[in-house]
C-alpha cells in the first residue's frame, strides 16, 4: 500500500459513503469482489465463497480503479460508478448512489395525503405523472374510493403521453452518449410537443401535481383532442426519422449490438423491470399482467426483445412509443363525459365558485387544505408500469391525515443493480452505452 492509498483509505473511512467505494482487490472481501465482478448475482448472508473458485488472473499493479461520476458527463445526473480497468476493459464495477438523496420518502410522512402529490412527483422527474398516479392509486385503495371513469381515462391519457416524453428523452440521451449529438436535440424537440400539452392541461411542464387522490386536478382543456391527435400524428414520422438516423446506422448497430447483454434469469433475479426486463425476452408489463385503471380495455402489444443487449433495449423503447400512440388513440376515442374528480366531499374540495357563495364550502375548503383528509388505518402496495419499469408505492396509514410510512419502489434503483453484470468484460465506451440503456433517473434512485 502506497502512502497515497493509505491517505485515500483514511479519508474514505471518515465519510459515511466510504464503505460504498471500491477498494483495491487486496482490501475487498471475496463475496464483495464477486458481486463487483458480476460473477454472482446475490449471496445470502452467511454464505462464504472461496475466492479461489472464481479467481481471475489479475495483477493488481496493472489495473486502475477509475471513478466515473458523480460529475461525469454521461452518468445521467449523479450516478457514480467505480470501475477497475485493465487497459480499457472493465473488470469490476460498483455503482455508488446517494448523491441526490433528498429524503422525499421521509418528507412524505410530514405532508398530508393531498400534499403528497407535490412530493412524489419530484422523484422520477421524467415521469412525474406516473409517480403521482401510483401515489394516488395507493391512497384511493386505502380510502376504498371510487374514481369517476373520465378521471381514469384522463389518467391513462396523461400517463401514456408521459411515457412518450420520457422515452423520447431517453432516445436523446442515448444518442448523445454514443456520440450522435444531433439525436439529442431531436429528442428534446419531440419531448417539447408533449410538454407543451402538459403545460396546457396541468399548468406546468414538470412536477405537475395533476393526478391527485380522487381524480385529477382539472378537466382537460378545451380542444384537447386536437392537441393530442396532433402529437399522435407528429410522432410516427419522427420515429421513422430515428430509424433512419440510428436503427439502420452501422456504427450505432456495432456500438449497441451484443453490448451489455443480460440473461432473462439474471434480470429476474435482480428484480429488473421495464424495458430492461422485456429486452431479455420476458413478457412482463404491469399494464397487461396486473392491469390497473382501464388498461385491460385497450388493445396494445407488449414489446419484447431477444438478446437483452443495448440494441434490444433501444428497440423496445422505440416500439413502446408506437404502442403508446396506439393506446392514446383508443383513449381519445373512448373518453367519456362526466366528472374529472370524485364527488366524495371528504376528499375533493368544493368547486371554486361555491366558496364565494357558501360559508360551509369555505370552511370545508380551508379544512381540507390545512388538515387534509383522514385515511383509514391499513397498508397497501400499488404498482404501475412507469417508463422505467415497475413503480410501486407502499403506503401505511395510522388513521391520521398523513401517511405513517411512504415507500416508493423506484424501478431505476433495482435496474441499477444490473450494471456490474452488464459491464463485465466490456470497454469504457460500452460502459457509457450500458449506463445509458438502463435509463437511471437518480431522483428516483435516491429519493
Amino acid at each position: 500500500m502506497t502512502t497515497h492509498d493509505q491517505d485515500t483509505a483514511a479519508l474514505a473511512a471518515e465519510t459515511s459513503e466510504g464503505v460504498q467505494e471500491m477498494a483495491p482487490r487486496s482490501a475487498t472481501e471475496s463475496a464483495e469482489l464477486l458481486l463487483e465482478q458480476g460473477a454472482v448475482l446475490r449471496l445470502p448472508e452467511g454464505v462464504t465463497v472461496d475466492p479461489g473458485d472464481f479467481n481471475v488472473e489479475v495483477n493488481p499493479d496493472e489495473t486502475m480503479i477509475i471513478n466515473m461520476g458523480p460529475q461525469h458527463p454521461s452518468t445521467h445526473g449523479v450516478l457514480r460508478l467505480m470501475m477497475e480497468l485493465d487497459g480499457e476493459t472493465v473488470l469490476r464495477t460498483k455503482p455508488v448512489i446517494g448523491y441526490l438523496h433528498t429524503g422525499m420518502e421521509k418528507t412524505g410522512e410530514e405532508l398530508t395525503y393531498l400534499q403528497g402529490g407535490t412530493n412524489v412527483t419530484r422523484m422520477d422527474y421524467l415521469a412525474p405523472l406516473h409517480n403521482e398516479l401510483v401515489f394516488s392509486l395507493a391512497v384511493e385503495a386505502l380510502l376504498a374510493l371510487e374514481v369517476p371513469e373520465r378521471a381514469t381515462w384522463i389518467r391513462m391519457l396523461m400517463s401514456e403521453l408521459n411515457r412518450l416524453s420520457s422515452h423520447v428523452l431517453w432516445m436523446a440521451t442515448n444518442g448523445m452518449d454514443l456520440g450522435a449529438v444531433s439525436m439529442m436535440v431531436y429528442g428534446w424537440r419531440e419531448r417539447e410537443l408533449v410538454l407543451s400539452f402538459f403545460e396546457k392541461a396541468t399548468g406546468l411542464r414538470m412536477n405537475h401535481n395533476y393526478i391527485r387522490p380522487g381524480g385529477v386536478a382539472a378537466d382537460l382543456p378545451p380542444g384537447w383532442e386536437d392537441d393530442v391527435l396532433a402529437i399522435c400524428d407528429a410522432f410516427p414520422p419522427r420515429l421513422a426519422e430515428y430509424d433512419d438516423l440510428l436503427t439502420g446506422q452501422p456504427i450505432f448497430r456495432e456500438r449497441t449490438e451484443g453490448v451489455g447483454v443480460l440473461m432473462p434469469q439474471e434480470a429476474i433475479a435482480l428484480s429488473a423491470s421495464g424495458p430492461i426486463l422485456r429486452s431479455t425476452g420476458v413478457e412482463w408489463d404491469l399494464r397487461r399482467d396486473m392491469p390497473y385503471m382501464f388498461y385491460d380495455q385497450v388493445d396494445f402489444d407488449v414489446i419484447v426483445g431477444t438478446y437483452g443487449d443495448c440494441f434490444d433495449r433501444y428497440a423496445v423503447r422505440l416500439n413502446e412509443m408506437r404502442e403508446s400512440i396506439r393506446i392514446i388513440h383508443q383513449v381519445v376515442e373512448r373518453m367519456p363525459r362526466g366528472d374529472y374528480r370524485s364527488q366524495d366531499k371528504k376528499v375533493t374540495p368544493p368547486p371554486r365558485a361555491r366558496i364565494d357563495e357558501s360559508m360551509e364550502a369555505l370552511i370545508h375548503h380551508f379544512k381540507l387544505f390545512t388538515e387534509g383528509f383522514k385515511v383509514p388505518e391499513g397498508e397497501v402496495y400499488t404498482a404501475v408500469e412507469s417508463p422505467r419499469g415497475e413503480l410501486g408505492c407502499y403506503l401505511v396509514s395510522d388513521g391520521s391525515a398523513k401517511p405513517y410510512r411512504l415507500h416508493i419502489r423506484g424501478p431505476s434503483f433495482a435496474n441499477l443493480q444490473t450494471l456490474p453484470i452488464m459491464l463485465r468484460g466490456g470497454l469504457v465506451a460500452d460502459a457509457v452505452a450500458v449506463i445509458s440503456s438502463v435509463d437511471p433517473i437518480m431522483g428516483e434512485v435516491d429519493r
Binding site: G179, A180, S182, Y186, I251, I303
Partner: protein, 399 residues
C-alpha cells in the same frame, strides 16, 4: 509526361535568380500571410461549424457577437485568454506546458506546403501562392503530422490524471495506426505523379481526362485512395466519428481534460487548423488544388477561389459527419484501420503500380472499370443487408 517533368524540376521560380533582400521580404510576407490566413480561417471555421451544426439540429447557434454571430470565436478566444491557467498538482510541469505547442506548431507547419493558388508576380518576382515548396513536400506533411501525435500523447500523459491518460493511450494508438493507411493512400498519388512536391502534384492534375472530365487524381486513381485518405484523415484529426481521443461522454475531455485557459485554447486552435489543413491537403492531392475545370486560365484569383471552394466542401462534410454519426468504439476503430483500410490501400497501391508499369497511358480506364465492378459488388451487398434489416420482426415482436 516529358513536358510535365520539365516543369516539375523547376520548383518555386522565386529562387531562380538567387536570393536577395526582396526575395527574403516576400518569403517573410508569405509566412505572415499564411499564418494570418490560417488563423482567420480557424475563426471562421469554428463559427461555420457551429452555425451549420445548429441548422442541422434545429437550433439558432451563435447569433450575438457580430452579424450572424460571426465574432463569437473571437469572443471565446478573448474569454479563454482571461481565464486562470491551472496547473494540476500531479502534472509533469514542463511537459504539461510544452504539449500544447507540440500540437499547434505542427498544425501551422503542415499548412505551409499547401498550394493555395497559381503564380503571382510581386515586384518583378514571379512566385507561387504557397509558403514553401520543398521537394519532399508530402513527406514533410507526414512527418509534422506525426509530431502532432506527441503533443496529444504528452498532454494526456503529463496531466497526472486518469481520464487524460486513457485519452492519450487511445490517441497514440489511433493516430499511429491511421497514419499507415493515410501514408499508403498518399503513396498512390506520389506513384502517379512521380514527385513528392505538392506543386508538382497540382500541376500534374491540370488538363482533362477522357476529353471532358478534369484530370484529377480522384478520378485517375479510381476513388479508393481518396476515400481511404478521407477516412484516415478524419481519424488522424480526431474528428467525429473518430473522436475517441476526446470523447466527452466517455473520457470527459480526453487528453485536454486538465487543461484550461489558453493552453486549452491552443489545442482547440490546433484541432481546427488541422481540420482546415487536412481539407486543403485533400484538395491538393485529389482535386487538383487551385485547378478549376473552366476557370484555370482566367486570373491568379481564380485559382484561390477554386481552392477555397473545394476546401469548404470538405469542411462542410466534416461538420456533416459530426452532426450525423455516432462514435466508434476503440476496438472497432482499430479493426477498421488495420483489417480494412490498410489491406485495401495496400492492395490498391499494388494494382496501381502494376498498371503504371504495364500500361502507362491507359490505366485510368482500367481503374475505372475495376471501381465499377467493386461498387457494383458493394451495392449488391448493401442492398441485401438493407432488405434484411427492413424485414419486420427481428426485434420488437408482439408479446
Amino acid at each position: 509526361m516529358a513536358l510535365a517533368g520539365a516543369v516539375l524540376a523547376l520548383g518555386d521560380p522565386l529562387f531562380s535568380k538567387g536570393v536577395d533582400g526582396g526575395v527574403l521580404l516576400i518569403v517573410v510576407g508569405k509566412a505572415v500571410a499564411t499564418l494570418a490566413l490560417l488563423l482567420a480561417s480557424v475563426v471562421l471555421m469554428i463559427w461555420f461549424e457551429r452555425k451549420i451544426i445548429s441548422d442541422m439540429q434545429n437550433r439558432v447557434g451563435p447569433n450575438r457577437a457580430g452579424p450572424w454571430g460571426i465574432l463569437q470565436t473571437l469572443a471565446d478566444a478573448f474569454k479563454l485568454f482571461t481565464k486562470e491557467d491551472l496547473l494540476p498538482e500531479r502534472a509533469d510541469r514542463r511537459i504539461f506546458r510544452l504539449a500544447p505547442y507540440l500540437s499547434v506548431v505542427p498544425a501551422f507547419l503542415a499548412f505551409s506546403i499547401v498550394p493555395v493558388g497559381g503564380f503571382v508576380t510581386i515586384a518583378h518576382h514571379r512566385t507561387q501562392l504557397q509558403l514553401a515548396d520543398p521537394p519532399v513536400g508530402i513527406l514533410f506533411l507526414l512527418a509534422v503530422s506525426s509530431i502532432a501525435v506527441y503533443g496529444i500523447m504528452l498532454a494526456g500523459w503529463s496531466s497526472g490524471s486518469k481520464y487524460p491518460l486513457l485519452g492519450s493511450v487511445r490517441a497514440s494508438a489511433q493516430m499511429v495506426s491511421y497514419e499507415a493507411a493515410l501514408g499508403l493512400s498518399v503513396a498512390a498519388v506520389v506513384l502517379i505523379t512521380g514527385s513528392l512536391s505538392t506543386r508538382d502534384i497540382v500541376i500534374d492534375q491540370h488538363g482533362h481526362l477522357a476529353g471532358f472530365l478534369p484530370n484529377w487524381n480522384v478520378l485517375r486513381l479510381g476513388f479508393i485512395p481518396f476515400v481511404i485518405f478521407l477516412i484516415a484523415g478524419t481519424a488522424e484529426l480526431n474528428r467525429p466519428p473518430f473522436d475517441l481521443v476526446e470523447a466527452e461522454q466517455e473520457l470527459v475531455g480526453g487528453y485536454f481534460t486538465e487543461y484550461s485557459s489558453m493552453r486549452f485554447g491552443l489545442f482547440y486552435l490546433a484541432e481546427f487548423m488541422n481540420t482546415i489543413t487536412m481539407s486543403a491537403v485533400n484538395v491538393t492531392l485529389f482535386f487538383g488544388g487551385p485547378d478549376g475545370p473552366w476557370f484555370h486560365s482566367v486570373r491568379w484569383l481564380g485559382g484561390i477561389v477554386w481552392f477555397l471552394a473545394k476546401t469548404v466542401v470538405f469542411l462542410f462534410s466534416y461538420v456533416w459527419l459530426r452532426a450525423t454519426l455516432p462514435r466508434f468504439r476503440y476496438d472497432q476503430l482499430m479493426d477498421l484501420g488495420w483489417k480494412r483500410l490498410i489491406p485495401l490501400s495496400l492492395g490498391w497501391l499494388l494494382v496501381l503500380a502494376a498498371m503504371i508499369v504495364s500500361r502507362p497511358w491507359g490505366f485510368s480506364v482500367v481503374a475505372g472499370g475495376l471501381l465499377f465492378v467493386a461498387l457494383l459488388a458493394r451495392a449488391v451487398m448493401v442492398g441485401r443487408s438493407a432488405t434484411d434489416e427492413l424485414a419486420p420482426g427481428p426485434v420488437g415482436e408482439a408479446g
